[in-house]
Amino acid sequence: MDKRFLRILRLKLVVTALILSVLPLLVLGFTYYRQFNQAARDNAIEALTRLAQNRRDVLQRFLDDRIAQLNSITQTQPLQRIRDESQLANLFNMLQLQSNVFLALDVIDQKGDRLAHVGTQASPNDPLNYTNEAWFHLAMSSGVYISDVFLGFANVPQLLISVTKWDENGNWILRAAIRTDIIDEIVRSGPGGNRGDAFIVNADNVLHTNSFSGKIFGHLTLPDFSSSTGVKSQEMTEQGQEYLFATAKLTNPKWVLVIRQDLPEAIGSLFKGSNMQIPIFISISLLIVISAILISVYITNDVARVLQEASKIQDPIIQSSKMAALGKMAAGIAHEINNPLAIIGEKAGWMKDLLDEEDVSKSENFRELQECVNKIRDQIDRCRTVTHHLLQFGRRIAPIQESVDINQILADTIILFKSEASFRGIEINTKYEELLPRITTDPTQLQQVFLNIIDNSIDAIGKSGTIGIKTSVTSGANSEIMIEISDNGPGIPKHLLGRIFDPFVTTKKSDEGTGLGLSISYGIVEKLGGHIEVASEESNGATFIIRLPVV
């Protein structure tokens, strides 16, 4: 079995299984991740946009409410009454009760003169006439004016809301100073996360609330959100960090509410809900890898088993077809040699005839010639033995079919070796199965097989040893007769064991055996529908087992 082949096969199977299963999973996972990421991004943008819009609306409503409060005073209170600071103080207190955000109230007539003031102390820098102030003219023309946030006299960030009352008797303005810390709160209540930020910039891109990007009243360098309109969101990169920015423009004043959120944080928060996906993905991948390895191991084990079984089946087939080819070749060679050998034989015979007939005994070379002729004949006989054995091995003679008793054939064969065995001190032990069935086979050819094997055993033992002959029959549908011939000789060398039935493979010296006996035996047994095998360990004897079908 080729272990390297199986190892490569296993590796190929694992790699193929992994490619075919993990790759689609990875593609699926990647696509899913991208889509989810995009959806999360879109979701985050939408949420942030909604948040900015919501905060902007809250802020706008806060300002609108303050305007409405001031409007309700201007609509209900005449100037004569309100210019009285005690009356104004009453109104201020009432406003404070409603919403504690007012710092001061001023009443200013159309000439720009401040008529009354209540609340926190007015700044000494605050002029008593505002005709030169831009806001005064804007308030007079548009009716309502909201200032930017500024640091008031008491170092309190504040803004001014001015509401103009158009009156037949002369227009006047009610101006309120309002704390802006509430605006900070409204803005700050927006974003989440560690890197989230929210702030307001005015039309000059000046910060109106404290922010991570800068202190209040600081000039926001980049980006410039002041020109932003409506409500929108965008992704931006600041110092290598990805951020989402949502901007919402207020109508009055012309401020822009900015909410910044860290993009990975915004997406990550959405991923939190589905953080089981990575363990699931890893688990599935592991499962696939383990399955691929297990399946590959199972398949390669099966392949190994099948190959082993196939080789078990094929070995005799290969052996038998090898024998057939060898037989054909051996017969061809024998024939080609036999013809010239026949001529040499006849010529030598002719020479012998002549030497026998002629009166050349007086010749001094007579003996030499006679010896030469005899030697030629001896060597021809030796060649003849080889070629005749080759023919015997190669020829296809249909076996005779007779009902025979194997035990009897064995007994008859052993008799032939009796004298030689006792001469060499070899004991032949037999153990015959008494109930051995008779089988239909060729007794002569079978005896030839037994002769070859026993002859080999005697030669292998040399002097003093034991040969065991045993017969048995297997039960079952395809019952067989088993003939075991074993000896306690030196055994067959390991390197010859696999080729022992091949022609010209022999453990004997070249002049003692042709190396064809076992090949012929193999051919005969196969022809009789049986099988012959050998088991041997070096220096531990050899056992030949012949199986013949019971027919």
């Binding site: 034989g345 006849e346 010529k347 015979g349 007939e357 023919l391 015997q392 020829r395 249909a398």
Partner: protein
């Protein structure tokens, strides 16, 4: 001990155990008419000469056609026939001989072990080359006895 004397031979042969057959044949071989058919001339002529030296009347043929002609004129009792020959092969010759002269015994000579067909076609026996001349003579004797 049995003694058989052959007429016109002037000799008697004591038949004792195994010597009997060869002794017996030595005298009757002189009546044998054998046709040797083989395309290998060196082999054929030498073997024929050796058989003649032993008193057997031998005729030779190098092929099938020649063999048929000689059979008619020579009327052999036994044909020693090579199987593998160019032209008309040994088995074809055998077939025709057995058809025309069923009494002529045929001994096949072969360099190859395939002789089953020859037996089926009526050959008496076969010998594988190279042969021992003694074996051939014995086989011829057996063939004649069989007749």
């Amino acid at each position: 001990m049995t003694v058989i004397c052959y007429r016109n031979m002037g000799e008697c042969c004591a038949i004792i155990s195994s010597v009997s057959a060869s002794c017996h044949r030595k005298y009757i071989m002189k009546d044998w008419r054998v046709l040797l058919v083989d395309d290998e001339e060196e082999f054929r002529s030498t073997l024929a000469e050796r058989l003649r030296r032993r008193g057997i009347a031998v005729n030779e043929a190098g092929g099938g056609e020649e063999a048929f002609r000689i059979i008619e004129a020579f009327a052999p009792q036994v044909i020693v026939l090579d199987v593998l020959m160019p032209g008309i092969g040994g088995l074809q010759v055998l077939k025709r001989v057995k058809a025309d002269h069923p009494n002529i015994q045929v001994i096949l000579l072969t360099g190859l072990g395939t002789t089953e067909e020859g037996r089926e076609l009526g050959a008496f026996d076969y010998l594988i080359k190279p042969i021992h001349i003694e074996k051939l003579i014995e086989k011829i004797g057996e063939a004649l006895d069989h007749n």
